[in-house]
């Protein structure tokens, strides 16, 4: 092996005037970046640093800072530093570039080009501190026709749920945190495709259980012990490809939950091999409805891709009670970088188009629309609802609340924050009591903000905002983009 042509990505700066050689950084770095020798001297191996910030956060004297490695390639707008480094990495490894979390590219962010309305004089605003504001949301088939009688609904106290993250991709303590938070918040969490760990059986009634092509952890009790069932067709971070849980994360516990050999890669390929058509999807939906005696809403999750509105129409016609669309900024535990960064479309566009299409076809009431993939704050939630969503899923934001520092190295299984790991020693770094408290705090804060913004618009129920695109105006968008989003430009 020749010496690598790459420089480290990050540089750790240790302020010797502040370092007390306490060794906290050494003990906390699962990447073995820090080292203390027998004389007490501290050393770092920058090459291994992923900028997870764990050491910097825990350092009791703030002696550590982590910076991007200060090397500037000659300025080049085409061959940028990341582009060059990616080539080096592939030249040296021959591998597909793997990454974690959502698309970091600077594509136009339509949420940031949408403005919310507020009432002035002619339509009084509402003070949410004094007047009741209704955030309750029902998800499911709300159409009146059909002979089966009342359709099962999910009742959400807030229009925000925790998105699918499987046990294996995230630690059991993440699931415990979110499951407990969902229970307290009156909403739902999603198991992802990894089964339900026995520790979480008590949280089944607040869980949306997922079925994907690998069928990991799917059995009658799993289907029964749930609020709803979600068939995962695609994921915003990696449309068109399946799940791949690296063997590093398949611990004995994961192996038990998924019924696969420990330390092997858990693969759920892109297609469900029993679904090659909308008819096949309808058949799987019906199979699940029969298996659960029509007591559970069935959700179908697809990635936002080019012809999403046609797909959505088919999915709803196939009998899905909830349609979940995951935008191209959606997070993941592991995805090939090229796919994460280049495949799919923005959720804002997909949402606007799907909502319009379903309304045009007169089938909007047959399924609720849940969007996900890059929802960052309460304004994004509100804009999504105004664009036509019934509710949103969040995942990356929830993980940040739990301590994630966005180093994007989820696939290594060495998450220093106890989030994207299954190692027992790392898993315990996330205390679910603290984790659930943070998640609850986050969504409680968002709820307050949503109420304030809704109050400002003079709207006292989130249902009244759904699809109410008059409450949105575009800024800095082309006429075509405005048309696609179905919103007027600011000023009009």
């Amino acid at each position: 092996m020749a010496r690598s042509i790459m420089t480290p990505a990050f540089k750790i700066e240790r302020d010797e005037d502040r370092c007390i050689q306490c060794g906290v950084c050494v003990r906390q770095c699962a990447n073995d970046v820090h080292h203390q020798d027998e004389d007490g001297w501290m050393w770092v191996d920058d090459e291994k640093c992923v900028a997870c910030q764990r050491c910097a956060v825990l350092c009791p004297t703030r002696a550590l800072s982590i910076k991007e490695y200060p090397i500037d390639f000659r300025s080049n707008q085409h061959w940028t530093s990341p582009t060059i480094r990616e080539i080096y990495a592939q030249a040296e490894s021959g591998g597909v570039l793997l990454t974690g979390m959502g698309n970091p590219r600077s594509y136009k962010n339509f949420f940031d080009h949408l403005l919310l309305n507020a009432s002035q004089v002619t339509n009084p605003s509402i003070d949410p501190l004094r007047e009741p504001m209704e955030l309750t949301t029902y998800l499911g088939n709300k159409s009146q026709n059909g002979s089966e009688g009342e359709k099962p609904q999910l009742e959400l106290d807030i229009p925000i749920m925790f998105s699918a993250m499987s046990f294996g991709s995230v630690s059991i303590n993440v699931q415990k945190s979110l499951a407990a938070a969902a229970r307290e918040l009156g909403t739902f969490w999603n198991t992802g495709e990894g089964g339900l760990h026995s520790d979480l059986l008590g949280y089944g009634k607040g869980a949306i259980v997922q079925i994907a092509s690998g069928r990991f952890g799917v059995h009658p009790d799993y289907l029964e012990n749930s609020a709803a069932i979600e068939i995962k067709i695609g994921q915003g971070a990696k449309p068109g490809i399946g799940g791949h849980l690296p063997g590093e994360k398949v611990s004995q516990e994961v192996s038990r939950a998924r019924m696969i050999p420990a330390w092997s890669d858990a693969i759920s390929p892109a297609p469900h091999h029993d679904i090659y058509s909308i008819e096949d999807l309808a058949q799987l939906i019906e199979t699940l409805k029969v298996a659960t005696r029509y007591r559970k809403p069935i959700a179908v999750k697809v990635a936002a891709v080019h012809n999403i509105s046609a797909i959505a129409s088919g999915v709803v016609r196939a009998g899905a009670d909830i349609l979940v669309i995951d935008g191209f900024r959606g997070g993941t535990g592991a995805a090939p970088m090229r796919i994460r960064d280049n495949v799919g479309i923005p959720i804002e566009m997909a949402l606007a188009q799907v909502d319009s299409r379903l309304r045009d076809e007169g089938i909007r009431s047959q399924a609720s629309l849940v969007v996900t993939g890059g929802i960052r704050n309460s304004a994004d939630v509100l804009k999504s609802i105004a664009l036509g969503a019934d509710a949103v899923y969040i995942a990356t934001a929830a993980l940040l609340a739990l301590g994630c520092h966005m180093c994007q190295m989820c696939f290594t299984g060495k998450c220093n924050w106890g989030i994207a790991t299954t190692r027992a020693d790392l898993t315990k770094r996330l205390n679910p009591i603290i984790g659930s408290r943070h998640a609850i705090n986050l969504l409680t804060a968002w709820s307050h903000e949503i109420k304030e913004m809704m109050g400002g618009m003079g709207i006292n129920a989130v249902e009244s905002l759904r699809g109410n695109r008059l409450m949105l105006r575009g800024i800095g968008l082309t006429r075509e983009e405005l048309d696609l989003l179905g919103v007027k430009p600011a000023g009009e």
């Binding site: 059991i172 611990s251 004995q252 516990e253 299954t422 190692r423 027992a424 315990k428």
Partner: protein, 417 residues
């Protein structure tokens, strides 16, 4: 209820605490024959070395006694009248009792050798002993200490600190025979010899000759300006014998620290204590035991029936900067011995199957707590786990099984890979 306690040291203070934990009102009278209050005998060597002020070797303060409503009578108990439930004092007072505690402690053992009544020959057991010794000694003198038990060793240290030339003579094969093992004695011997105290083992004093000469069984002769006899103690049980209570080597008590007279209890160095390891009753003149016995005796005197399960031999002492901790069986012959040594540290475990019976730790006091508890609580730990521990003994390497069984302490992380 009227409680009378004969004696004023550790067991007596334990008893006051025990009685008061149950009975806040009953009258407690302490008969303090030594008239020194509650002080700690092991601290007299510190008194001699430094010297400490008197209050510093007090075990409990007069305020403690006042706060607990204890009446102290500075007189000797001369007789116990069991029929009338009275204690007769040397000043003629007669103290009635409902429940009596005999906590009279012990005497230092005196050898049967002619000439030991000389003024330069002392025992080292009481505050008074230390004070009279303090008045006698001068820098540069030669002191000989007979007996290398804890008392002898601490006396030696104190005299050495005061600038005397000190020799210790032990009749057994190695020093501190009730504390050390043959292996650990070698280590300690070198550490202490190196510090300047002369140690002679397997020598028995046979005669005190004129001109400060001592003669030993082997024929060895030593000069001594000062001779200290530290040959151990025996129970001060004559009051009990005289009133007809059952006495063996020490006063015999049941599990409730009750003597053969149900109204008379006894605790501390004067009684025979059940040795957990052997099940036999033995004299165990140990301070923590004395307090515990006193406390439980007090509880039982006040009407709570709390059984005393017994104790084990355990000692921790610092001599010339060397820490020595040991607990468990007095003999080490029958056990598997595991030894770890590094520089001036030494640890020896004595195992029988999965049970620890004894340990000796030199300069490793931090390990002594768990090791003592492992013996005392009969904690079963696989020998292999002990062997692993002995590869690098530290608090962190104590077998996990110990922590699991000690209670209160963290369970193992159930979330294992």
């Amino acid at each position: 209820m009227r409680y009378v306690i004969i004696g004023s040291c550790i067991a007596a203070m334990g008893a006051v605490e025990g009685i008061r934990s149950i009975d806040k009102k009953g009258l407690i009278t302490i008969i303090d024959g030594e008239q020194r209050g509650a002080y700690t005998r092991p601290l007299i060597s510190y008194f001699l070395a430094k010297p400490y002020k008197f209050k510093d070797i007090r075990y409990r303060s007069p305020e403690f006694l006042a706060a607990n409503g204890v009446e102290v009578i500075n007189a000797m108990a001369e007789q116990i009248n069991r029929t009338d439930k009275q204690v007769v004092l040397n000043d003629g007072q007669i103290i009635p009792y409902d429940h009596l505690l005999i906590a009279t402690g012990a005497y230092p053992v005196m050898p049967d050798i002619a000439g030991i009544e000389k003024s330069w020959i002392k025992t080292f057991y009481t505050q008074a002993d230390a004070e009279s010794l303090n008045a006698l000694l001068a820098e540069g003198q030669e002191a000989v200490i007979i007996g290398s038990g804890l008392i002898g060793m601490k006396a030696a240290e104190a005299l050495w600190q005061r600038g005397l030339k000190v020799s210790i003579v032990e009749k057994d094969a190695y020093m501190l025979p009730r504390v050390l093992s043959s292996g650990s004695a070698v280590i300690l011997n070198s550490l202490i010899n190196g510090a300047g105290i002369n140690i002679r083992c397997a020598e028995e004093l046979t005669a005190v000759l004129p001109d400060h000469q001592l003669e030993f069984a082997s024929g060895m002769k030593l000069h001594a300006d000062l001779l200290i006899l530290a040959l151990g103690t025996r129970p001060r049980s004559e009051l009990a014998v005289a009133c007809g209570i059952k006495v063996n080597k020490g006063i015999v008590v049941n599990n409730y620290l009750q003597t053969s007279d149900e109204n008379i209890f006894a605790a501390g160095d004067v009684i025979e204590t059940r040795n957990i390891l052997t099940g036999e009753n033995e004299i165990m003149a140990l301070l923590p035991q004395a307090h515990k016995e006193g406390f439980l005796a007090g509880c039982n005197m006040a009407g709570h029936k709390i059984a005393y399960t017994g104790g084990i031999f355990q000692n921790s002492v610092n001599i010339m900067g060397v820490s020595i901790c040991s607990a468990g069986s007095l003999s080490d012959a029958a056990y598997t011995s595991l030894i770890w040594k590094q520089d001036e540290k030494y640890l020896e475990l004595f195992l029988d199957g999965s049970y620890l019976y004894k340990y000796t730790a030199i300069n490793l006091p931090e390990l002594s707590g768990p090791l003592t508890a492992a013996i005392e609580r009969r904690i079963m730990i696989e020998e292999t786990a002990w062997r692993t521990f002995m590869a690098a003994p530290s608090l962190s390497t104590i077998p996990p099984a110990y922590w699991h069984k000690i209670g209160d302490i963290p369970r193992a992380n159930t979330w294992n890979q």
